[in-house]
């Protein structure tokens, strides 16, 4: 008896869903199975801390595609199912109920989950945000006058702070580091964002540790390292995310801070690929430096590329990292990794919008980060991204001058 195997994707988030569609777009006609632990159709996570928190109507998850579209593309989507075991020798998966599923090629798109704070383990008033269901729980508690304490001044914490203020809650953000957004954002930009939060009445407290979280009835009391206590109706823990690697690890694949893949997104087993938030990969742009990104466009690009490479295209991942964040009316965008730069050049675009260009010692433009109202920085960040992809060495004087069009530098 022959069992037909096909392409199997574990994890039905942004990355897994894009990969499933990309298999079809690239002409694959065999079986495609997409397995996800959540009960929803694959949906977009970025709105969870933004629109979903503030929209007037009853929030709905923004799905990546409707069920009919999965049907039309003959993608078998299996919801609410956690894969518990990969048998690499037999090339098949095992499920909790004893069933199994063979694969020809496998993609791990298991994403990341919030890092937990041990101090919060006993409290019923602490929440984390990763899924749509988490978002509904948090949203229900963003009421006018509610005391919301956010532990961690990263993107999710700050986006939630902005959303909670819009809903009229009182917000305190506690950050152990000396400033917010320590990872991935230069100080000048973090300062612009911090100032905006303070202006909205957010209590932003940096350089402060927590020693205890205790529940007392309907609220929690947070003990700070300096002896002070603060009270909260809801504590949201936003101290980063960790990649979901246990399944890969148990299967004997190489893992660390993520599932290790090569530039083709292939793991240490050539029939198994990994992509999106769960993988750590070499970034060709920076000489093969290994990074793990938690960014939406990366999840899409890697999902698409992994699908092509599962079909044998053997194309390396070459993209420039890129992400955005929205807080109040401010839009932030970063292309490349700013920590690759040694020299920073500032360009002011008017209306308070500005871009920082990050240059390496050899003059290459390696990253650009910008902030401003709405999408004021978008176009120039996109052009900068193209310059970064080409390892261009634009003159500092030209980058600093707002009247020099970046498009003209691209033509040079």
């Amino acid at each position: 008896m022959t069992v037909t195997s096909g392409m199997v994707i574990i994890g039905a988030g942004e990355c897994g869903a894009r990969a499933a569609f990309a298999l079809r777009e690239n002409g694959y006609e065999g079986l495609v199975t997409l397995i996800g632990a959540e009960k929803h159709l694959p949906y977009e996570r970025p709105p969870l801390s933004k629109d979903i928190m503030v929209c007037e109507d009853h929030p709905v998850a923004r799905t990546i595609a409707a069920q009919e579209y999965f049907d039309e593309k003959a993608i078998q989507f299996i919801a609410e199912t956690t894969v518990t075991h990969i048998d690499r020798r037999a090339k098949q998966l095992a499920f909790a109920d004893g069933q199994s599923l063979p694969y020809e090629k496998l993609l791990l798109a298991t994403g990341a989950i919030p890092r937990t704070l041990p101090l919060a383990a006993e409290s019923r008033h602490c929440a984390y945000l990763r899924s749509f269901d988490d978002a509904l729980t948090i949203r229900a508690r963003f009421r006018p006058g509610a005391r919301i304490v956010i532990v961690g001044g990263g993107f999710i914490g700050l986006e939630l702070a902005a959303s909670a203020r819009k809903r009229g809650a009182e917000v305190t953000v506690l950050e152990t580091q000396a400033r917010v957004l320590m990872r991935g954002v230069p100080e000048e930009i973090a300062e612009t964002i911090a100032a905006r939060h303070r202006q909205e009445g957010v209590q932003l407290r940096c350089g402060i540790g927590i020693s205890a979280i205790r529940d007392s009835g309907a609220s929690a009391t947070i003990g700070l390292a300096n002896g002070e206590t603060i009270h909260a109706d809801l504590v949201i823990i936003g101290i980063g995310a960790v990649p979901v690697t246990a399944l890969a690890e148990a299967a004997g694949l190489e893992t660390g801070n993520g599932i290790f893949v090569n530039e083709y997104l292939q793991t240490s087993d050539p029939d198994i690929f990994a992509a999106g938030d769960c993988c750590i990969f070499p970034l060709a742009l920076y000489g093969g430096r290994r990074v793990r990104l938690e960014a939406w466009r990366n999840a899409q690009e890697q999902g698409t590329l992994a699908a092509r490479n599962m079909l044998g295209f053997a194309e390396p991942h070459l993209s420039v990292p890129w992400f955005w964040s929205d807080q109040y009316e401010l839009g932030l965008q970063v292309a490349g990794l700013p920590d690759e730069g040694t020299l920073t050049i500032r360009r002011d675009l008017g209306d308070g919008a500005f871009i920082l260009f990050h240059l390496a010692a050899d003059g290459r433009l390696v990253a650009a980060s910008g902030i401003g109202p709405g999408n004021a920085v978008a176009r120039d960040i996109r052009l900068a991204e193209m310059l970064i992809a080409r390892s261009a060495c634009p003159a500092a004087t030209q980058l600093a001058a707002p009247d020099v069009k970046l498009k003209s530098l691209l033509a040079a």
Partner: protein, 105 residues
């Protein structure tokens, strides 16, 4: 049949660029291609409602400033994730240096 409306002067738009045009509560994007032709589409991205005129024009593509969704501004066709719904396009013509657009109902 609806009338042609004057949107802007041809010189208001650089080659391979886009501007925003608002009219009676609606918003449009007007493009000038690298080979000096003019086109018009709805002004808002079909993913989230973001003004496309803040985006980048490259050849016959307009790229949304928010999440880099891409459309052909000549046909309105959505060119892949995260956009999947096409943009509406409108007839356009240039007369005596003025750009005229036919909006329909």
């Amino acid at each position: 049949m609806s009338d042609w409306i004057e949107a802007c002067a041809a010189d208001d738009i650089d080659e391979e660029d886009v501007i925003r045009f608002d009219h009676e509560g609606r918003t449009f994007a007007i493009y000038r291609s690298p080979d000096d032709e003019f086109f018009a589409t709805d002004g808002l991205c079909t993913h989230e409602h973001i003004h496309l005129a803040d985006g980048l024009v490259m050849d016959d593509i307009i790229e949304c400033p928010k999440h880099n969704g891409r459309f052909s501004y000549k046909t309105g066709q959505a060119k892949g994730a995260p956009v999947c719904v096409n943009l509406k396009t409108y007839p356009i013509r240039v007369e005596a240096g003025k750009v005229l657009i036919q909006l329909g109902q």
